[in-house]
Amino acid sequence: MAGEERNVILRTEGLTKHYGGVHALEDADFELLEGEHVAIVGDNGAGKSTFVRQITGVERPTAGKILFEGREMEFHSPVDAREAGIEAVFQNLALADDLDVPSNIFLGREETYFNLGPFSFLNEKKMLQRSQEALEKTGVKIPNLHNSIANMSGGQRQCVAISRAASFASKLILMDEPTAALGVQETTQVENIIRGLKERGIPLILVSHNLRQVFNLVDKIWVFRRGRIAGMLEADKTDGNEVVSLITGVQSGVHENASYI
């Protein structure tokens, strides 16, 4: 399938998800190249988050194929996707508030001394050290890693979540609205982390409502509308108008003064 295009990292063919009678995602053909950063935009209910949930194994598609590195994948859980090298940062921060930073970064894949099943002893030292490395790599400064996440600001928490994804993702990161709840300064910090990922050549799928951010960060923009992919635009060959027209399905010319651009 992916034979003729060697550098396609992720491809979906006819990806479809129905929730009962609701067609949340319909026949999505999507493609991501190696080292590429793309954005997924669209109105509320356009199928963006649904799409992300299929790719990350949170849900299983009703129909269609997911090809990752040319191989057809069937993710039964987020763990399967992670093992394949896909990491996700979700809209509702998937962090455990009462645990500290290393525990959150290593949640579900703790480093242990020797394997005693659930009663394996934790290698806290190694986890702390590797957490420090991960945070350094993403340029995040957190004063005391042993504080519980609950005592940190939204930005710090988001940075921890992203650092977790970035430190494990070997092949692909998905971010669903990573800056939706953040202030200006914190948003900048997250955007810098994303630029760092670009430099490191780690592909990214970014779901965002913020078109300015999208134009700043990514190479390609995939527009979803009412469960379908309405089109793909290259960020440097398009403008806000064209994107908004695709998002809303209304022809260009009416959006010049729109505040959402």
């Binding site: 763990v79 962090l95 703790e110 934790l122 005592n151």
Partner: protein, 342 residues
């Protein structure tokens, strides 16, 4: 109140963050305070020391040991964000069933006349198995049918009590072998309690088991997304709680040399209270075995303090109720003081 100021200053994102005072330390301060009050009242009303009396202290710790064993299991359940109301009834059922396999042959009305004078390992294994089965049913119900832990364990509470009564049609089961009775004699219950506490302190603090227990109570969704098998873990936690309730049932039966269907009534609430007083948060994610240990000692101090002052047992219960509610209110208050972005 100093506490409050700390929590507020800790919320400023860029300031060096101070750790809020730990729940265990709060509980310990509470313990010291309560003990000192009794010491003072002791000198005023009884003309003697409350604390400096080895016999009183050993009785005190003995009194809380059986419920303390339960509280160790309940602590873990509460940390996952659940609750276990069945432990008192499991104590009753386990006491009856285990004791029926521990009777001496010289007693003519043994439950199983052909199964007497068995080696002590038999009733112990039977008792532990009872606890495991009860706990596992709780866990499976909660993890897979998604019914609230409150309801699932309430069902088990009623059912297990029914089993305890049905087992011998309400007759007590007595005359255990010496080796089984030894489980409850002298200070053995205290050693069992402390050994169990140490074991699970280590498990909660230093193993993956503990990390996942806290993670589930903290944010179950996040735990699941991170690849933790939440269902399997919950079954394990409730099974351990059932096992410890079973162990407590055997210890109390061995201590009294008899098992009765009504044993362990209200123990589940005492155990929950010990945990809550020790700083285990009913909303999950926070608490520790050390805290519960302190909670258990606070309980013991109150009970023996009231006995020492020759006050009616009625007051004990009333005060216990007030302290439990106060501990929960304190926890809620702390929760609200936490900076929260959700």
């Amino acid at each position: 109140m100093a506490n409050q100021a700390q929590a507020v200053s800790g919320s400023a994102a860029d300031m060096p963050q101070k750790r809020p005072r730990s729940h265990e330390l709060n509980a310990l301060l509470g313990l010291v305070g309560i003990a000192l009050i009794f010491e003072l009242l002791g000198w005023i009303f009884q003309g003697q020391s409350f604390l400096f009396n080895t016999q009183r202290l050993s009785i005190m710790i003995l009194q809380v040991s059986v419920v303390g064993i339960i509280a160790i299991g309940v602590t873990q359940v509460i940390i996952t964000g659940g609750i276990d109301l069945s432990s008192g009834s499991v104590v009753g059922a386990t006491a009856m069933i285990a004791m029926s396999f521990a009777q001496v042959s010289t007693y003519p009305r043994a439950v199983y006349p052909e199964l007497t004078d068995l080696p002590v390992i038999v009733p112990i294994l039977v008792g532990l198995a009872c606890g495991i089965v009860a706990g596992m049913i709780n866990g499976l119900l909660i993890a897979f049918t998604k019914i609230p832990p409150f309801i699932a364990t309430l069902g088990m509470m009623v059912t297990a009590r029914g089993i305890a009564k049905w087992y011998t049609r309400g007759q007590p089961v007595s005359f255990p072998t010496d080796s089984f009775a030894a489980l409850g004699q002298g200070m053995t219950p205290v050693f069992v309690f402390l050994a169990i506490a140490l074991l699970f302190h280590i498990a909660l603090k230093y193993t993956v088991y503990g990390k996942h227990t806290y993670a589930i109570g903290s944010n179950e969704q996040a735990a699941r997304m991170s690849g933790i098998n939440v269902e399997r873990h919950l079954v394990l936690v409730y099974t351990i709680a059932g096992l410890l309730a079973g162990l407590a049932g055997m210890v109390i039966a061995a201590r009294g040399l008899t098992a009765q269907a009504g044993m362990g009534i209200m123990y589940e609430l005492d155990a929950i209270a010990m945990a809550v007083i020790g700083g285990v948060s009913l909303s999950g994610g926070r608490g520790s075995i050390v805290g519960t240990l302190i909670g258990a000692v606070i309980f013991g101090v109150i009970i023996s303090g009231f006995t020492f002052l020759r006050l009616d047992a009625y007051y004990q219960e009333m005060i216990k109720g007030v302290i439990i509610v106060a501990a929960v209110v304190a926890d809620m208050y702390r929760q609200r003081m936490r900076p929260q972005s959700r």
